[in-house]
Amino acid sequence: MKRQLPFVLVFIFGLFMMFQYFVPHEISEWIYEFLLDWIVIIGIFALALGLWSLFRVSVDKIKMRKDNWGYSYITLAGLFVMVAFGFTHRVADAWGLYFIWILLSLLCLGSLMQLRAATNSRQKKMYFASALILLILSTLVAVFDDTWRFYFYTAEGLENSMFRAFFDYILLPILSTMFALLAFFIASAAYRAFRARNVLATLLLLAALLVMIRFNPWIQGDEAWASKASNWLMNVPNLAAQRAIVIGIGLGIVATALKVILGIERGYMGKG
């Protein structure tokens, strides 16, 4: 029964979703919308699981003093700070004691991490006491400064200046810089690895050069030979290969979906 029930459910819902596409009846549409809602709800649990997993991995890293364990504090602090600022309604100068509350909460979290990592009873007592004091202090600040009011997913919460500042001035430059660094590695890798060693490598090299030249505004346009050649490359061999890949993937998806619905493929049960 434990194994049969998931197969039956997958079979029923799989077939339903397959045939629903062709049935524009009101009831069919209602069930379809209901199922879509359910998928989102189930997915949110996966999100919570991901957060818990990140927390556990970071805590374990600190506890075991693994390589670069110090960075785990930054990961946890980043996670906590973004969530904390996403929940507040405060804007402009009306921050009150919010920063102090965040600082105390972070220190409390740090003390708890250290408590888990502590090896002797003296250290454990020390970190326990500091975590307790910091927790009491942060609770007092939260109560007296009205920090507990949650405004997440309201205009006030999402428009608070700190949440935006973290995105605009920290996350955005970090991510775009990381990606921009690729240019240097591509240049170095192209110099070292892009060699005309055999016929296929030569074809690849020529195609890459032509397509790169295509993006050069000085020699593009219908009359330029480079543009004509690269357009031919994009519209004939590239198109043919991409079509074959897309059709292959599509057929593969249909075959896998049928195997799942018919119970032949049972990988989702964790038993291959």
Partner: protein
């Protein structure tokens, strides 16, 4: 050691240095490079330019800050064109960091629309862009394929409220707007696999006109959909954005960035050519040495 042997063993830090110098130089020194438009991006510009005021364009900002350099200029060019033409825009952001990107773009473009400007000889009066009247930002929800499917039934299913918490029924421009049937076209600006979902689950099922704005490396992958008519236009990478700016007569970040991209590409081509010359000469010498010995 000959020059070619030295070339073969060139420290990669020299490559980095030359590229950095060229990038900084081409960014700092102002000069114009000619931009020639292509039919793929012309189709998007013409489509939007032909829409009457009041029509709704759906713009999906499905990229993260990683793709900012290529895709943010597209957003700026397309959205400014829409608002100057007095079109209404529905935004979504189905990638995790997308809402921040969309929010930033909306703020910046709203500011730039406050002043009068002339594009292609036509004067556009500056005006204030009003949330709920000129645009509606739906925000982010996880599981993009389901959200795209859900919006095909009713925008209110996945997004009962907009990004700012206002119920969609209370948003002025959303009155009477149920699903994709009420939008003139969908433009997906994406740096990842969300594009596939827009083609398969969105255009495939609900049959709306779809155009794509993609990163340079993704562009080749989506040509089959252009040939089959599933999409009506593609803006490929920074060049696509620069072409749109050129057509809209609104030079911005893309045209500026094209200088850097052009010279970075030339440096890479130079290194590939030099590397291959060194490789062939070294191989020829080794072959000769073997014959002698």
């Amino acid at each position: 050691m000959g020059i070619f042997d030295k070339l073969m063993k060139l420290d990669r830090r020299w490559v980095f240095l030359l590229l950095a110098v060229v990038c900084v130089w081409s960014y700092v020194v102002p000069f114009d490079i000619p931009i020639r438009t292509e039919p793929e991006s012309e189709a998007i510009y013409s489509f939007i330019d032909s829409l009457p005021p009041g029509d709704i364009v759906f713009i999906a900002i499905d990229y993260d800050p990683n793709n900012l350099a290529e895709l943010h200029p597209m957003t700026y060019a397309v959205v400014e064109h829409c608002w100057r033409k007095e079109l209404k825009v529905i935004f979504t952001a189905l990638s995790q960091n997308g809402p921040g990107m969309a929010d930033q773009a909306i703020r910046d473009i709203s500011d730039s629309l406050l002043v009068d400007k002339v594009y292609n000889g036509v004067e556009f009066k500056g005006r204030e862009i009003i949330r709920g009247k000129d645009y509606c930002f739906l925000g982010y929800k996880p599981y993009y394929a389901l959200i795209i499917l859900g919006m095909g039934q009713d925008f209110r299913l996945p997004f009962p409220t907009d990004y700012y918490g206002t119920p969609l029924d209370s948003v002025e421009m959303m009155k009477g707007v149920i699903n994709y049937d009420q939008v003139a076209c969908v433009i997906d600006l994406s740096g990842g696999s969300i594009t596939d979902a827009w083609i398969s689950y969105g255009q495939g099922r609900f049959n709306f006109p779809l155009a794509l704005g993609l990163t340079g490396v993704m562009t080749a992958q989506y040509y089959p959909y252009l040939g089959s008519g599933q999409i009506f236009g593609i803006m490929g990478g920074l060049l696509g954005a620069a072409q749109y700016e050129e057509m809209a007569d609104n030079p911005g970040r893309a045209k500026e960035g094209m200088r850097v991209q052009l010279f970075a590409h030339l440096v890479i081509i130079f290194f590939i050519v030099v590397g291959n010359i060194g490789y062939f000469v070294t191989r020829y010498r080794q072959k000769k040495q073997k014959e002698v010995s």
